[in-house]
């Protein structure tokens, strides 16, 4: 990161947009403004169009000769398939209410990051080719012809949208830039324009079962390692069944929880919880990915990757599926899964989820048969099924970051809070304009959590970072909990940059630390292996 936070703030100017009209403002392809393109072998593995060596920094992007025709036909097809796309192309009045709702605009000031202009990048071409007014009046009606520079501009700006939907909440017509971005990215894919940070996880997930490409034996090693750690810290040896048939529940969580710090502590929290309540469950190495980078690629790829969940539930004979802490995973499950792949439930043992511990029937998951772990744990807590000692988290002053997708694509707001408040004694909310349905993105959603665009990420992270700094300074908050694996990775550099001194954790890490286990030894260490006595002293 080249700029210091104060310098970055100085570089933001909302009041002096470029002198040139946005249609005439040239693209800036400086390194750091774009993510690396998909590698040839990755693109070939998932059979996406036009695999080749290329770089967004080059003048020649090596597009197919008939690229204009491909885009035209691609738009036509999507206008016919999605009412959302057609309506959102037509009804925007450019009132500008969305403008300062986007974290990338707030942190950068580039007008093309106003959601309205981001959509206009595509709308202008739509008007030119598909509307009477655009054909007759041209630029007066906001139309412009499709050129190579327009394609390049799409790549720059539709990969500066994290599909967080904050703008959509404020739009008087509910125009959803996430939907527009999805269409634009699908169109770009038709020409072979993509980013490796999304395509490689997609390819990995397809063949190896998870984004990170952890193979089954390695997956087992990691899980065993965590089981050992839990035993070290608690004296209790938990079971972590893998790929076992005949269990009641299949548990699926994002692979980031298995792979990286601090997600692994959340994973340990899950294992301890399941052990303690005696849950009859299994993990799967084949369906070892809760997340779905297909969502950031195309509807078809999202469906293909998501299908594994029901496919594996059928093979293993599970009655329902429990899902871990992940953001976009829950957008897919809540708003797409049953619609896309519900037909795959035929011939399975899946039924409306019922907690075997409390008897609660999760009627709100009657179609998908998938329950969010925060709902599940909150239900355990309200039935007093867990023995908790929140004092073990007393060195923490905790706030909660609502992830965009569970907030605005589901409405999972109070369940994680109920869990946190049961396992921590010191909880503080960030300002109301930055939480719940108004929450701000971590700056790295929708597959943009890659390091080569760190400047863009830190700019996008400003609203969240600043809200965090506010509670850090006001209440001494030193921990931000979240229910998303991408957050657990992206919020760390964000906090280091905007609000140093705040740690990031998953909600079930806090649960694991507070959970009293039968037969446990004196708990001297937390799940990070840190001495609780020392932490208490420091606090």
């Amino acid at each position: 990161m080249a700029l210091k936070p104060e310098e970055l703030i100085d570089s933001i100017d909302y009041h002096h947009p470029p002198k040139t009209d946005w249609m005439d403002t040239p693209n800036d392809f400086k390194p750091g403004r774009w993510a690396y393109p998909g590698k040839i072998d990755v693109i070939k593995r998932i059979h996406f169009p036009n695999p080749r060596e290329w770089s967004p920094g080059d003048a020649d992007w090596k597009l197919p000769e008939n690229w204009k025709e491909i885009i035209y036909n691609g738009m036509r097809e999507r206008l016919d398939k999605y009412r959302s796309f057609k309506v959102f192309m037509d009804i925007c009045v450019r009132c500008g209410a969305c403008a300062d709702k986007c974290h990338f605009y707030i942190g950068g000031g580039d007008p093309k990051n106003m959601p309205v202009l981001r959509a206009e990048l595509l709308r202008s071409v739509y008007r030119n080719d598909f509307t009477a007014a655009g054909k007759i009046l041209g630029r007066l009606a906001g139309a412009r012809p499709l050129t190579l520079d327009v394609i390049k501009e799409w790549f720059l700006y539709f990969y500066q949208c994290t599909e967080c939907r904050r703008c959509s909440l404020f739009c008087p017509y509910g125009i959803d830039t996430a939907e527009v971005t999805m269409m634009a990215r699908e169109l770009l894919h038709l020409l072979g324009i993509n980013i490796n940070w999304i395509m490689e996880p997609v390819a990995n997930c397809n063949r190896m079962g998870n984004h990170l490409g952890i193979q089954p034996h390695a997956f087992k090693d990691i899980v065993d390692f965590m089981v050992d750690d839990i035993e070290n810290y608690t004296g209790v040896r938990v079971k972590a069944p893998l790929n076992e048939k005949g269990h009641e529940i299949l548990f699926i969580t994002p692979s980031g929880d298995v792979f990286a710090d601090p997600g692994i502590y959340t994973f340990m929290g899950y294992l301890m919880l399941f052990h303690e309540i005696g849950l009859d469950y299994t993990l799967s190495t084949y369906a070892s990915e809760g997340g779905n980078f297909g969502l950031f690629t195309s509807a078809d790829m999202m469906q293909k990757l998501n299908g594994k969940m029901y496919h594996e539930a059928k093979r293993l004979g599970a009655k329902w599926i429990l899902g871990g802490e992940c953001g976009h995973m829950w957008r897919v499950i809540n708003q797409y899964m049953d619609t896309m792949n519900g037909y795959m439930q035929e011939g399975t043992n899946l039924s409306v989820p019922r907690s075997p511990i409390t008897g609660t029937v999760f009627k709100n998951a009657a179609a998908t048969k998938m329950v969010h772990i925060a709902e599940f744990t909150a239900d355990l807590i309200r039935h007093n099924k867990l023995k908790l000692n929140p004092a073990r988290n007393d060195h923490l002053k905790v706030t909660f970051h609502d992830s965009c997708n569970p907030a605005r694509g589901m409405g999972l707001l109070d369940e994680p809070r109920a869990v946190i408040k049961a396992v921590c004694n010191d909880f503080h909310e960030m300002p109301i304009e930055t939480i719940r349905e108004q929450t701000f993105c971590c700056g790295g959603g929708s597959g943009l959590n890659t390091d080569e665009i760190m400047d863009i990420r830190m700019r996008g992270g400003l609203p969240r970072g600043n809200a965090l700094k506010y509670v850090r300074d006001k209440h001494g908050v030193n921990t931000m909990a979240c229910v998303c694996a991408i957050d657990r990775a992206t919020l760390i550099p964000l906090a280091n940059y905007w609000a140093p001194g705040v740690n990031i954790c998953g909600v079930h890490e806090l649960v694991g630390n507070a959970l009293e286990m039968k037969g446990q030894k004196e708990r001297e260490l937390n799940l990070r292996g840190e001495s609780l006595a020392e932490l208490a002293e420091e606090a």
């Binding site: 009804i91 709702k101 007066l140 293909k304 049953d338 037909y343 309200r382």
Partner: protein
């Protein structure tokens, strides 16, 4: 520049009438045929646009959820009107959206600055002006349209007379001043000035954003001019308008040029409507992020073009990794 183009265009429209009626005496054309064509284009165009949207399916239920979901936990209270799961609550959400501009009411304004220590601050302030003038504009417009129906009905239904008398409640001036005339001009002026003066809004505005504002302002001003300054012969005008609705078009004497200006500008608005952003009037009802319940996890929604793409199967996965899986002690379906 874009604003000036639009303003010039509205002036050009005025010249067209002044020339067409004032000099060339094409009263039938401007008083009858253009309004007929405009009305036909508006009605057919509007219906076609809505039909064209409705033709595309809604493959997924993608409401933007604006509050707590329906939960089976009794202490978690659903925000039913911002995150509905039933048809009834979705209708309520839409009613709030369409009638009260609920989403726009959320509006905030962000500012970035440095505090006294040089530290960054992002602040959010409530910003209800756009909502206020937006709603004032739309309801004034609606009231004015309803009031005008007295010119197209005989006898005039009671509710129109009632709205008319409510609108002139203040009893200022003669003829009495309509509140909505003032409100419409004030609100449209606010919306226009906001576009011209706020640098961000000016930057994202198209000529197509200024034109309807200038046009509506010109319509309003020409109407006000007719009523309060030119004091046109309303009896003669009603003779003309009743002729239009009863399909016995007829041009009475005594209809001044100001009426033709007003009528022509309204005709242009009607003609322009189906081809423009003004179609948000129809589109707001069709937005899938608002008009659907958040219930895809609860009940099945059918996507008519579901491609049913097959996932990479477990069998293929096991074929790839069988040996290391066996070695690691993981269960497999086919031992060899």
């Amino acid at each position: 520049m874009k604003a000036l183009y639009s303003l010039f265009f509205v002036f050009a429209l005025l010249l067209v009438v002044l020339f067409g009626v004032g000099a060339a005496h094409l009263n039938m054309l401007f008083g009858v045929w253009i309004p007929y064509v405009a009305m036909a284009v508006f009605l057919l165009g509007f219906i076609y646009r809505v039909y064209d949207w409705a033709k595309s399916p809604v493959p997924f239920r993608i409401p933007t959820t604006g509050g707590q979901q329906w939960s089976v936990l009794p202490e978690v209270k659903q925000n039913r009107w911002d995150n509905p799961t039933t048809v009834r609550d979705t209708v309520i959400r839409m009613a709030f959206e369409v009638l009260l501009f609920r989403s726009l009411f959320r509006n905030t304004k962000s500012e970035v600055y440095k505090n006294e220590n040089g530290g960054p601050v992002v602040a959010y302030a409530s910003a209800k002006w756009l909502w206020l003038f937006g709603i004032l504009f739309h309801y004034s417009f609606l009231t004015i349209v309803i009031r005008h129906m007295r010119l197209f009905t005989e006898p005039v239904p009671g509710f129109i007379t009632l709205i008319d008398s409510l609108d002139s409640l203040l009893q200022i001036a003669a003829p009495t001043l309509y509140l909505t005339d003032v409100a419409l001009v004030a609100a449209a002026t606010f919306l226009l000035m906001r576009r011209i003066l706020a640098p961000q809004i000016r930057y994202l505005s198209l000529a197509a954003d200024y034109f309807p504002l200038f046009l509506i302002l010109a319509i309003a001003i020409s109407g006000i001019y007719m009523r309060y300054i030119a004091k046109v012969d309303v009896i003669a005008i009603k003779e003309l308008t009743m002729g239009l609705v009863t399909f016995h078009p007829h041009i009475p004497a005594n209809v001044g040029i100001s009426f033709y200006i007003h009528l022509f500008l309204v005709s242009i608005l009607l003609l322009y409507f189906p081809f423009s952003k003004l179609m948000h009037l129809g589109g707001v009802f069709l937005s899938p992020t608002r008009n659907l319940p958040n219930d895809s996890r609860v009940r099945h929604h059918e996507n008519p073009w579901n491609p049913k793409i097959k996932c990479h199967s477990y069998a293929d996965y096991e074929d790839d990794f069988r040996e290391p899986m066996i070695e690691a002690g993981l269960p497999v379906d086919k031992a060899e």
